[in-house]
């Protein structure tokens, strides 16, 4: 059964058809939510809320890319979840020092598992990138995740965030610049082949 047929069946109240759509999209939706939220629990909540919204708003879907339409709902769910968490901040799990300050938690640099060097470096790089993505403003983060992480085109991102294409371009450029600055210090800690120095470009 193809996507449009499943949508039509779901619109008729067929919950099984809708859940087949959920299964088809849940990895994409969760991954996007995870990259935007930066935390598995929050990403789960946003994903669940997004699918409930998709079900409730399915009658408003007017054709076109269903994936882009779902991404728009996921984006909104992420924004809602972020707002909710800002209102009720979650207590951090990082240990505190004696003076009450949070311990500097370079979590991407701490991994006790006995991994081969390449895998370890890659894991560290991933965590460093996620750390820098989390540091971006929401509006920049969402565009960066949609285009650079999820690999969507500008048009889909524009539809998802409900902003013109020019806004996507400008936000993406700023997000990339900020991410580049954030990661600058980290590149230097990586093995030479991962590093980008002036000599590399020469």
């Amino acid at each position: 059964m193809d996507e449009q047929a499943l949508i039509q069946a779901a619109l008729q109240g067929d919950m099984d058809a809708f859940n087949r759509l959920v299964l088809a999209f849940q990895d994409m939706v969760y991954n996007t939510a995870y990259r935007v939220m930066g935390e598995p629990g929050a990403a789960e909540d946003a994903t669940q809320e997004a699918f409930i919204s998709v079900y409730k708003k399915l009658h408003t879907y007017r054709g076109g890319s269903f994936k882009a339409w779902v991404l728009r709902i996921v984006t909104n769910a992420c924004y809602d979840e972020l707002r909710r968490r800002q209102r009720r901040p979650v207590t951090p799990l990082e240990p505190e020092l004696d003076d009450g300050e949070l311990m500097e938690s370079a979590k991407w640099m701490v991994d006790d598992a006995p991994l081969p060097e390449d895998v370890l470096v890659k894991a560290e790089l991933d965590q460093a990138i996620q750390h820098c993505i989390d540091a971006l403003e929401e509006k920049f983060r969402v565009v960066l995740v949609l285009v650079d992480v999820a690999g969507e085109d500008y048009e889909t991102a524009s539809f998802a965030i409900q902003r013109p294409l020019g806004t996507v371009k400008s936000r993406l450029a700023r997000a990339r610049k900020k991410l580049q600055d954030c990661l600058q210090g980290f590149w230097e800690l990586l093995p030479p082949r991962y590093r980008l120095s002036d000599e590399d470009s020469a």
Binding site: M15, L23, D27, N31, I129, D148, V149, A173, R176, S201
Partner: protein, 261 residues
């Protein structure tokens, strides 16, 4: 944003260039600019590497099945959200109140006309000028409705009476000098200055009601003044109360909504 010698415009073009979102003409221009700028070339390599690193981030699989059950999508009957209605109504009432105030200030002459009525009633209260001319002058002290000395009020309100009294007074009690300087008679001259007619002036008492306390400025008068507020005041008070009440209701509803979230 202009760091490392690269303007934001160039960074923006660079970003679009990497993704193939520059028009042909724009792209050719940018490539020519790129060829002449080592800094921009370095930025291009960095951006490409960053983009590759982002695309290489592992896909996080869904940790569980997000399939929905019929119970999860049951439309919960929610109460209608009245908070925005109250908030809007409160703001509207407040704005209307401001508008009424502004209108009153601008068109003060129109609204101030009804204010003459209290003066008229005061004149009535102080006594009809004609009647007063026939009767001995009575100065009422301690008029609670006016908050002033009764004598001062009576003299101030009905100048006609004052003039009558002055004219009626015998020589020696004449009006103050025209020059405005008020001469105070010597202490020993005071008794002789009071004529028999002036003696009939009793402060706060009518001659035929000697010893009886006259209370013409009773509570009835005060209440009638409160009720006699001009309509514009009632409108302003009403709007003020409405704005306040609706605003408080909106705040209470909002706080309740926040708690339930």
């Amino acid at each position: 944003m202009k760091r490392c010698g690269i303007s934001f415009k160039d960074m923006s073009r660079l970003s679009a260039y990497i993704d193939g979102y520059l028009f042909e003409e724009e792209r050719d221009k940018f490539e020519a600019h790129l060829a002449g700028s080592k800094e921009l070339q370095l930025a291009l390599i960095r951006q490409k590497r960053l983009k590759a690193a982002l695309r290489a981030l592992p896909v996080k699989p869904a940790p569980r099945n997000f399939s929905l059950s019929p119970e999860m999508v049951v439309q919960r009957k929610t109460k209608p959200n009245l908070m925005p209605v109250f908030r809007f109504a409160s703001a509207a009432a407040a704005l209307l109140l401001v508008a009424v105030f502004a209108g009153e200030l601008l068109l003060g002459s129109l609204f101030s006309a009804p204010k003459a009525s209290p003066m008229v009633s005061e004149a009535n209260f102080s006594g009809d000028a004609a009647v007063a001319a026939d009767e001995p002058m009575i100065i009422f002290w301690n008029n609670p409705a006016e908050g002033k000395a009764g004598g001062e009020e009576a003299m101030g309100v009905s100048d006609g009476q004052a003039e009558t009294m002055i004219e009626a007074a015998p020589e020696g009690v004449g009006p103050a000098p025209a020059s405005g300087e008020r001469t105070i008679p010597e202490e020993e001259e005071l008794p002789s200055a009071v004529s028999p007619e002036a003696e009939s002036l009793i402060l706060g008492l009518r001659p035929d009601e000697g010893g009886e306390v006259i209370s013409q400025s009773g509570s009835q008068d005060v209440s009638s003044k409160v009720i006699d507020l001009p309509p514009i005041r009632w409108i302003e008070i009403g709007l003020g109360v409405l704005a306040l009440g609706l605003g408080i209701t909106a705040i209470v509803l909002r706080s309740k909504q926040r708690k339930t979230r």
